[in-house]
């Protein structure tokens, strides 16, 4: 039986432009993103801690940020593939997330 490779990220919905890291990823890591016959790779551009998100594709400033196939916020800066997607470049459309 083939050994399954360690899962480094999860894509929660086919429509999403973000994926979530399942291990701590280091800047420069090359991650197979596609699967299938032509696996595309993505270079992680920053350290991405476990359970944090990075961009799966280019997200332009003003674009919706998607996870679970739903809008979780809006990009307030251009986000390149492999870049950390978090409070520094995404804002809620519902309420500002303020650190307590």
């Amino acid at each position: 039986m083939e050994n399954k490779p360690e899962q480094k990220f999860i894509l929660l919905h086919a429509r999403d432009n973000t994926v979530t890291a399942l291990v701590d990823l280091a800047s420069g890591d090359s991650i197979p993103l596609g699967g299938g016959t032509k696996p595309e790779r993505i270079i992680v551009r920053q350290d991405i801690p476990y359970a944090h998100k990075f961009a799966r594709s280019h997200i332009a400033k003003g674009d919706d940020v998607l996870k679970y196939g739903e809008i979780i916020g809006v990009a307030v800066a251009d986000i390149r593939p492999g870049e950390h997607v978090h409070v520094h470049n995404v804002e809620s459309k519902r309420a500002k997330g303020e650190p307590a």
């Binding site: 360690e6 739903e70 978090h86």
Partner: protein, 392 residues
């Protein structure tokens, strides 16, 4: 996977529903009757006792919540018969509770402690009645029941990042499968909806349902604000942000994804039971375990799927609560809490669809009699009913 032809071995009830267990429910109407109810149940094999700290000294609205919750708990298909234990002078109307339960067609008895000369008198009468009821329902034999008669409740608690990434979405897939096969599901936790209500509203089948959903969220936020707190501003918390959650939408979505993707067919008050039709229903309820498990049981759920990352212990007296975790450390560390391991999603690349199939398949085994870990050790006693106003 298509589950339309799946059956489970259940107990048919006079109202056409089917239980996955066959208990005598011993239901206390008020705090003051709890101990008698517990003592009666202890003496009768096959009895499941429900106690709570309400039933008296409450404003009218909260008394109504208690009455409809107890009445609908008595209707739950997992109960073959019900013994209502009342003190006699409580605010809740015990006759109305017993009468409401009797509408289900199942045998119901009511014992009032003050009318029976106190504890020993009540124990004597109630014990004999309970003995008779248990013997009567023991004649029922489980028979094959189509999965469309199954109603699952869903809840998450003691969450960690694996909850929103694996166990919650996998539970959501199981819910989608069940509804596609003709069954029904109920979710709640109004607090978890805050921030994602605009997304749930899009899933409501009618405008009227969407309006009800928004109104229960607004009512909860108002009550919280009256207490001087704000559930929206502080979310996600600093701890959430450190754990990777960016916005309140994302946090809420990670919780409500356990309801799957089906349209919402109704929004109900705490303690109400949605109609027995195929579909997905929302019950206005807090997230705290004893209160929401009671709400899901009152909503008719025969089984509750409980997604947990860190590992929560509790079951419910007469509804199996299936603990599902996507965190392998929790699965291995808390072997006596966790019923289902879905850590394969994050560690081995199992698809959410496949994990959802496994969860529904496991649910049908539980429906046919497989005991959950909480049932096997009797960790089923933390029960409560929600209240909205002061105790007076």
């Amino acid at each position: 996977m298509n589950f339309s032809d799946t059956v489970f071995m259940g107990y048919r009830r006079p109202d056409g529903q089917a239980g996955v267990r066959n208990y005598l429910g011993v239901i206390s109407t008020v705090t003051c009757a709890n101990q008698a109810a517990e003592d009666i149940a202890r003496h009768v094999a096959g009895a499941a006792v429900f106690t709570h700290q309400q039933g008296c000294g409450l404003l009218q609205n909260d008394l109504q919540i208690v009455e409809r919750t107890l009445g609908n708990l008595g209707h739950n298909p997992n109960l073959g018969a019900v013994l209502v234990v009342s003190l006699g002078c409580e605010g809740v109307n015990a006759e109305r509770v017993a009468g409401r339960i009797a509408e289900s067609g199942k045998p119901v008895e009511l014992v009032k402690i003050q009318q029976r000369g106190g504890y020993f008198g009540a124990l004597n009468e109630a014990g004999l009645k309970a003995q008779g009821l248990v013997r009567e329902i023991s004649k029922l034999k489980p028979e094959p029941v189509p999965i469309r008669n199954l109603r699952l409740g869903v809840k998450c608690g003691a969450s960690d990042p694996t909850s929103g990434l694996s166990s919650n979405p996998a539970v959501g897939k199981a819910v989608d499968r069940l509804i596609a096969a003709g069954g029904s599901a109920v979710f709640g936790e109004t607090t978890e909806v805050i921030g994602a209500e605009h997304i749930l509203v899009q899933r409501c089948r009618q405008q009227e349902i969407a309006d009800r959903l928004l109104s229960v969220v607004a009512a909860l936020e108002n009550r919280v604000r009256q207490s001087g707190a704000d559930m929206r501003g502080g979310n996600p918390s600093a701890g959430n942000i450190a754990a990777g959650l960016t916005t309140i939408e994302e946090k809420s979505l990670g919780a409500i994804v356990k309801s799957g993707s089906a349209p919402i067919d109704g929004v109900f008050r705490y303690g109400e039971c949605p109609p027995w039709n195929t579909g997905l229903y929302f019950v206005d309820s807090p997230g705290r375990e004893p209160e929401i498990l009671a709400a899901l049981a009152a909503a008719g759920c025969q089984i509750i799927l409980f997604s947990t990352g860190i590992g929560a212990p509790q079951g419910f007296p007469f509804v199996p609560v299936v603990k599902i975790s996507g965190n392998r450390k929790t699965v291995e560390h808390l072997v006596d809490f966790i019923d289902m391991d879905v850590s394969q999603i994050l560690l081995e690349g199992e698809t959410l669809d496949d994990a959802g199939d496994r969860i529904l398949e496991f649910s049908t085994q539980v429906a046919s009699g497989l005991k959950t870990k909480a049932e096997a050790i009797g960790y089923i006693g933390s029960t409560a009913i929600y209240q909205t106003g002061p105790i007076v």
